[in-house]
Amino acid sequence: MTNSIQEIRDAKVIFAIGTNTTEAHPVISYYMKQAVNKGAILIVNDPRRIDLCNWATIHVQHKVGTDVAYLNGLMNIVLANGWQNDKFISECCTNWDEMKKTIDDYPAEKASEICGVPVEQMTEVAKIISHNDPVSLCYTLGITEHTSGTDNVKSCANLQMMLGNMGKHASGVNPLRGQNNVQGACDMGALPNVYHNYQKVTDPAAKAKFEKGWNRPGLSDQLGLKMPTMFNGMLSGDVKAFFCYGENVAMTEPHMSHTLKCLEAVEFMMVADIFHNQTTPYADVIFPCTSWAEEEGTYTNSERRIQRVRPFLKPHENYREYWWIVNELAKRLGYDMGFTTSNSVWEEMRKLGTSYNGITWDRCDDVGLQWPCPDLEHCGTTFLHADGNFVCGLGKFSPAQWRPQAELPDEEYPLVLSTGRRLWHYHTTQTRNSEGIDDLFSEEYIEISPVDAKELAIDNGDYVNVTSRRGSIKARAWVTNRSPRGVCWLSFHFHEACGNVLTIDAFDPVTETAEYKACAIKVTKAESAPFEITRERQARP
């Protein structure tokens, strides 16, 4: 996030795209709704009629997978009317001429035809976002989990830069991070191309720094494998040893039957986790880890804030923190990683870092600290790119062309399936093992529009077979206006009916993020089990 979370409450316009905020980031949705109560305009851009629409001024229901065309179309309207922020563009940005050329390719009528949003509504939205200040653009995985994910993100940034909505309080580009420490895992360099704080493995200076800091000559300067390539490497035999820490990959990766083939094929597999799950049966060795309740350390949230995690339960005698496990393994491989406590890991990281250098556990003890925080006197950074001074110098426009999703619906698989999280659950194990949560939402429902359901003679509650080219599951039907005609929706929480049996292993070419948000399916009725929904409720039938 270029802004901080609480700033959302001060926005005059919230442009939410591809974010089911009330379910995936509930507390951020409270701030959005508080802003609406204070008079802000909330524009929800989502193919589904998500619960956030109940508080929206405008719901733009663009078609699944058309974000780039829709955003380019908005930019075209802004430009045609001269509503852009010329001062910001000329003083703070670069590559505008190329951007303009791409914008010219998307006249409103053409964009409208692709994304299915009427020109009048697009014009209204363009007018609102260019005539109000501050404007907070928020997005989540609805933007990134596409084969065009990188282009979708760039288009969000292009729009906000064109309007000068950057580097100000409550005004910026705000990706709401899905998991508690997904920001931190990236910041810590659990990525194939960078050490922590984004120091590149291909940079000779960084390599030299870590060879010295780690007392380990000969570090690799070759880019490592991203997850989908790792999995394919298990099948091809390039990957022989696979260490899976804290992820139930069998359920969370797309195209489950492919994932399982990979896990079966790999020669030696280690799992370090807290639960027996759908992945552990494939492991050759299993290590029991401490969980959130038993370990000490830090998480980094969406707004780059480093926050303390403190143990509150006494661990079982066999639980170990992951840093301890790899420290012990490294010793047996002849290398001393030198970790003695969780804090010793932190201190080493800090001293070899850049934007984290000024952050000690003590300094973030109460409310945390936001990076960049380069030294011990620095008080952290609440919003990035202040006054249009981008971290990288000038903000570069990155024009993007629209292309459709990898798998479009056809005669055999006529419906689009999108997937995600529900309010009541998180991933696959934690909430399903928390008392009471499973009582509120205990089995999977495929959300289907009343029009499609009627055509398929499906009633609320009926069991249906859902099939894609990759597999088939049986789930109950939730006939609901949350789904537009032609679009169904599933979560990946339930091993009994997991959306990832069906999803496609097609990836964004740059990030290799899978297209969880779009694949083609067919739905047929399996058995009747109808129930009547007596009242409209949030997030459940």
């Binding site: 420490n181 040893a241 992820e247 880890c289 000490e296 350390g297 303390r308 290398y335």
Partner: protein
């Protein structure tokens, strides 16, 4: 700036400030039951009554703006008498049996009754009690109308903080009550954020999962960060350390969540106690997972890794780290791949 005198102390306040906030700035505590920090005053509970020189009656400090040169008394005899009366009336219309109340020790009404010496077994007013029901229908939140003092804080929390619009006050006067939509809580659109519980000054709203699991003074409080989405809500886990179990969770009034939580942060805290936890290192022997010691598991793994690296090189290793775990564990995962194994094949689930 407005200058006034509170309890003999000269106080400066901004024009438009209330007597309550001006007094607070001067270090003078005025008791409240219906006031929610950061939200408009309600003037509902009348416990914050103060004496303002020249005024006809006592004034509610939370909703009376400061006036220049006024003289305010916050604990005069008249004020104390009025507060006692308010407390007696509040106690008389409900069933405030503290003995088995979950809020015992954590209840503002109880604390005030104790401070002002008002007993609920020796009340002057023995009139009719409000007809109130206990709604135990929902999985997480119990609403006990018999302990409700109609302070309206839960309604404000639901409508102005979480902005869910489920709770509201129905009917008028003696038959007033707080309702959820127009049905039991379990049938309503409630999303169980639990903000109503957090602001409730009595035992009228409490967590179903905590019932019978310990009194507030027996619980240790540990501040930590929520393990769910990327908001990073700050929360306090109330722990029964003797029995090694969490009893309830409350939100901390700090950045970024200002006390607010969602259903997962507030109620999905007990997965660490699940019997599906892995409790021993295991090695697959003849297709079966067999429990082994830590040393055996580590020696075996290191042996296999050595073998594979020698035969196929370090790039035949691939590691996936965990976006739900700590920064420290993620740093360790990447250092292990890069320094101990010698490969950049390290990634995590944010990718896909």
């Amino acid at each position: 700036m407005v200058k006034l005198t509170i309890d003999g102390i000269k106080v400066e306040a901004k024009s438009g400030d209330t007597i309550l906030s001006a007094a607070k700035k001067a270090g003078i505590q005025i008791p409240t039951l219906c006031h929610v920090k950061g939200l408009p005053a309600q003037g509902a509970c009348r416990i914050c009554l103060v004496e303002v020189e020249g005024a006809r009656g006592l004034m509610a400090a939370c909703s009376t703006p400061v006036v220049a040169d006024s003289v305010v008394e916050t604990s005069s005899e008249k004020v104390i008498k009025a507060r006692k009366l308010v407390l007696e009336l509040l106690l008389s219309e409900g069933d405030h049996d503290c003995i088995i109340c979950e809020a015992n020790g954590d209840c503002k009404l109880q604390k005030m009754a104790y401070e002002y010496g008002v007993s609920n077994t020796d009340l002057k007013y023995k009139g009719e009690k409000r007809a109130a029901v206990k709604d135990t229908s929902s999985r997480f939140i119990i609403r006990d109308g018999t302990k409700c003092i109609l302070c309206n804080k839960c309604v404000l929390a639901c409508n102005s903080r979480g902005v869910h619009g489920i709770l509201y006050k129905n009917e008028r006067g003696f038959s007033s009550k707080i309702v959820s939509d127009d049905c039991e809580l379990s049938d309503s659109g409630c999303v169980y954020c639990g903000e109503c519980i957090q602001v409730c000054p009595t035992g009228a709203l409490y967590e179903k999962k905590r019932v019978g699991k310990g009194r507030s003074w027996e619980l240790d409080k540990v501040d930590t960060t929520c393990p769910y989405c990327g908001v990073g809500c700050q929360l306090t886990v109330h722990v029964d350390s003797k029995n090694n179990r969490p009893v309830k969770v409350t939100g901390r009034y700090t950045t970024p969540n200002e006390g607010m939580l969602c259903v997962k942060g507030r109620f999905a805290y007990d997965f660490p106690l699940s019997d599906k936890r892995i409790t021993s290192p295991m090695i697959k022997k003849n297709g079966e997972h067999v429990q082994v010691s830590w040393d055996e598991a580590l020696d075996y793994t290191a042996g296999r890794l050595k073998e594979i690296i020698e035969k196929h090189g370090p790039d035949s290793y691939a590691g996936v780290s965990c976006a739900r775990s700590t920064n420290e564990n993620n740093y360790a995962a990447m250092k292990f791949a890069r320094a101990a194994i010698g490969t950049n094949n390290i990634d995590h689930c944010a990718r896909t």
